[in-house]
Point group: C2
Chain length 244, copies 2
DNA sequence: CGGCGTGTTGATCGGTTTCAAGGAAGGTGG
DNA sequence: CCACCTTCCTTGAAACCGATCAACACGCCG
């Protein structure tokens, strides 16, 4: 389909970590021929609601949120997908989930027909998707613990930690001995409202907890959407310890 | 290994709904040869903690709970597996989950080596496992909504509804017109403590909510562990509507 | 400048937790 | 068979955390 396909893939930001990195050379080549890049602005729906889930994608950049919304206005973000993650729901038509771009995103997308024929020819693709699904399941279950058992301050710390770890912003400082990252700065991919929707809280509570982290000196924030974690170790501790 | 293997499978309670029903005849035959039945009393750990996850199983009867426990004493049930469900975690060694028999259970179990060779020969097995994993993921996400957004009374109603639907107890009455089940009676597979661990609540709260359902006439209970839902429709309504 | 969306902060309210006491069911040994 | 124990469950009263209501600050754009 496109003779430059492989070449483009070799330059791809997620070539070494995406689904395409866990399958055979042959499968990756076949996939690369049927794939196309798409950009979407923040807020656009990838699937769910009215949109059919007829295509799948690998996220190249940006963050996608999976939202479970109810007619009565309640809604909960039940998953966040980062670069190299797979987006889509094979083997199910009716999903009452909405996948929405949380930030501007860049996708490497392909149709379900491509997926289907690819898995016929290369069974290991199905295995790679299974491994990702099982990891997503583990993450979902960690998140369930958070929603069921953690306090507001632990929740906010947990989410900030997730972003600090997965979005790899500018590293500002490392521990002299261990080499662990001590300070990182990065853009938050979510609004306060989305924060709250992730954490099962109200946005006011999120705002208060972030303010508390600032006064504790664990984070500083030049702008509301750009934040620096000053002490990753402290943040990690706060993410699993209720204050007493 | 056992000439009676296929015969035993034909008599199996989950032969038509388990993993083995979604794979080819050949794969099912191969699997049946390496499988063995196990019984476990309530409370026994299938894997997690110290026990390695070296075996997988299909539940034949009973309920298994997946528990996420922390050293500080907090714990949350992050999944319930019913008959025909798959138990185990392929492709990961270190899982900080404990799978424990919630009731006495009967398992059809097989080693990870069997799983591995089976999937080499019959790729469709991997697909069947993937489909189950994706369904588990959907359930986990529904549960996340519950933990993040539902009130205590909705949560209790949601869990009772789940049991009423999945455990198919004695049907007592159907709607004359629609034929829908109106009254069901069944044994609760969980203690009040486990109820609370599922729902992100305290056991006292669970107890109060069940009492409230009794005074509303939605359920009656002869014994604490045996319960009759008198009005499934009302229960369904309560499971997604906060009282005002 | 004024208006709008987004985020912060304060005050009060309410649902769930926590603490505490007592009740029901089941098992054991006298 | 009954007293006693243990475990699980129920109920009550008070405390607390996060929700709710409300006002205001900030940045952005026309």
């Amino acid at each position: 389909m496109n003779v430059n396909a492989r070449f483009r893939c070799n330059n791809c930001a997620v070539r070494m970590s995406g689904l395409c990195s866990n399958i055979s050379e042959g499968a990756a080549t076949d996939l690369s021929r049927s794939v196309h890049r798409r950009r979407m602005p923040a807020g656009q729906v990838l699937y769910g609601g009215n949109t059919k889930t007829g295509t799948y994608a690998i996220i190249v950049s940006g963050v996608v949120k999976l939202v479970h919304a109810r007619p009565d206005g309640r809604n909960q973000i039940v998953g966040l997908q980062f670069p190299a993650d797979f987006v889509g729901r094979p083997y199910s038509e009716a999903v009452d989930l909405v996948a929405e771009a949380a930030t501007d995103v860049e996708l490497c997308s392909f149709s379900s027909r491509v997926y289907q024929s690819l898995t016929e020819i290369h069974p290991e693709v199905e295995r790679a998707v299974l491994k990702r699904a099982l990891n997503d399941l583990d993450s979902a279950r960690d998140w369930m613990f958070m929603l069921g058992r953690k306090t507001a301050s632990e929740r906010v710390a947990t989410l900030l930690l997730l972003f600090a770890e997965r979005m790899g912003g500018d590293v500002r400082e490392r521990c002299p001995e261990s080499g662990e990252i001590k300070r990182v700065a990065f853009d938050l991919p979510l609004s306060r409202t989305d924060f709250a929707a992730c954490l099962g809280l109200r946005l006011e509570t999120v705002s208060r907890q972030i303010s508390a982290l600032k006064t504790q000196g664990v984070v500083t924030a030049a702008k509301t959407r750009y934040l620096e974690v000053c002490d990753m170790k402290a943040l990690r501790h706060l993410s699993e310890t209720a204050v007493e």
